[in-house]
């Protein structure tokens, strides 16, 4: 396309009325032509002036929140997958993580590996799930497994699962997988509370490549009496909680 041809179509392009089949060619020309881009910018400013000349309307006050929510929902992608089915796979997601950790058995579960947890996450999320491997993993630790369904407090949207294995030595592990929280007030930290009221402040949830927030931490602490799992936002407000129950497969 020559500049002359491009210029001929630019007013319609700026006004949004150029037929779609011609837009693509024109945009390709614009990518490579600073002169026509400048002309486009000026025409767009004319359109903007037109928009600002309209009697300004007052949007409903609640629209701001709906815009924010719409954006987060859009950001979750996968529009073909209804939310209900995503919830149903929550437990599985945590299991996936653990199963992948099993696959990394060669790395070992020692304290020294804690710092590698994040890179393990990155790889783990990409692995194929196999829930049986979670049992194998739990058994391999020789400890007692628990799980907690994490439920958001009022005003927050998310869901998630925590799996805790209390084992001897440094083999106790906490694995958490939650959907991105809406609204987002991260970074989020993890707290466990046990029967005696003792609080374990653990690290932060990390963004995974799948878009979920995940957490994996090995510890030498005794997690056998943990009652609840709590997720706190950046201002230490509780955003999600879950009561600990015996682990059940899937």
């Amino acid at each position: 396309m020559t500049c002359l041809e491009a210029r001929d179509q630019l007013p319609e392009y700026a006004l949004g009325v150029l037929p779609a089949e011609r837009v693509r060619d024109l945009e390709r020309h614009l990518e490579g032509c600073a002169g026509c881009r400048r002309e486009t910018a000026e025409l767009h400013q004319g359109v903007e002036t037109m928009s600002f000349s309209l009697p300004q309307a007052s949007p409903p006050p609640a629209l701001a929140d709906r815009v924010v929510r719409g954006l987060f929902e859009g950001a979750r992608a996968k529009p073909s997958q209804p939310r209900a089915s995503r919830r149903a796979v929550r437990v599985l997601a945590a299991a996936t993580l653990a199963a992948a950790l099993v696959a990394f058995g060669a790395i070992g579960w020692g304290v020294a590996e804690r710092h590698r947890a994040q890179s393990i996450n990155a790889i783990a999320i990409r692995r194929i799930e196999n829930i049986d491997k979670l049992d194998t993993f739990i058994k391999s630790l020789g400890g007692q497994p628990f799980q907690a369904q994490l439920v958001p407090v009022a005003g927050i949207e998310s869901s998630g699962t925590a799996v805790i294995v209390s084992a001897s030595g440094a083999n106790s592990v906490v694995i958490i997988d939650v959907l991105p929280l809406i609204p987002n007030h991260g970074p989020y930290s993890v707290q466990l509370i046990d029967r005696s009221g003792r609080v374990f402040s653990l690290g932060h949830l990390q963004s995974s490549t799948s878009g979920d927030l995940v957490f994996v931490q090995f510890t030498a602490q005794d997690l056998s009496r943990v009652l609840s799992v709590t997720i706190l936002d950046a201002h230490s407000n509780v955003v999600m909680t879950g009561k600990v129950a015996p682990y059940s497969k899937g």
């Binding site: 004319g46 903007e48 300004q56 629209l63």
Partner: protein, 198 residues
């Protein structure tokens, strides 16, 4: 970096704001909304004619801004120009799509303005400048521009309905947009100068 809710942003701040939007940071979405939510909603309401359609358009414009945000380049133009172009384009698409369901309500530029609350000086100033820019167009330019802007007609459709050559329509549309842009830029420069003298 934090952003105020009023006053112009530097090109650098606009770029940073869009970077944060793309990263999904909520305060960036809210900042963007507090600055541009109203004019975007206005375009939706005036062009599509219902509160529901205006709300839907507003949500979709912000979603599109988030999706396309990586392509925003502050060196190529202002953020408001970019966003208002997205808003107007989407509204036109919807109009054209719904065309079968009857003609959209044609909103005349001359429409009597709604009284605006007193605390919205900024909005009034923008509108005042825009209206003065519009007053500088010839009747023919205004007429053709309205048909493209509000009704989403292509140059060919306008030429056919008006019985004037296609080339003339395109030339007038261009002349009208460039005039608006020049007048607005000139008034904005004068306003800045007055601001400095004060």
């Amino acid at each position: 970096m934090t952003f105020g809710r009023e006053g112009p942003l530097s090109a650098e701040s606009e770029q940073e704001l869009m970077r944060q939007l793309v990263a999904g940071e909520e305060h960036a979405i809210r900042t963007l909304y507090s600055r541009f939510g109203r004019p975007i909603y206005t375009v939706g309401l005036r062009m599509l004619g219902s509160v529901e359609a205006a709300e839907e358009l507003t949500r979709d414009v912000f979603l599109a801004a988030w999706r396309k945000g990586g392509r925003f380049d502050s060196e190529r133009g202002r953020l408001s120009t970019w966003l208002m172009a997205i808003a107007h384009n989407m509204a036109v698409d919807r109009l054209r799509h719904d065309r079968g369901a009857g003609r959209p309500p044609l909103v005349l530029v001359e429409e009597v303005p709604e009284p605006a609350p007193l605390d919205e000086e900024e909005v009034l100033l923008d509108r005042d400048r825009a209206q003065r820019a519009l007053a500088g167009l010839s009747a023919a330019e205004r007429h053709l521009l309205s048909q493209a802007y509000f009704s989403g007609w292509t140059a060919r459709e306008i030429a056919e309905s008006e019985g004037i050559p296609l080339g003339t329509v395109k030339t007038r549309l261009r002349a009208a947009l460039i005039k608006l842009r020049k007048s607005e830029a000139e008034q904005s420069r004068m306003a800045t100068r007055r601001g400095i003298e004060r």
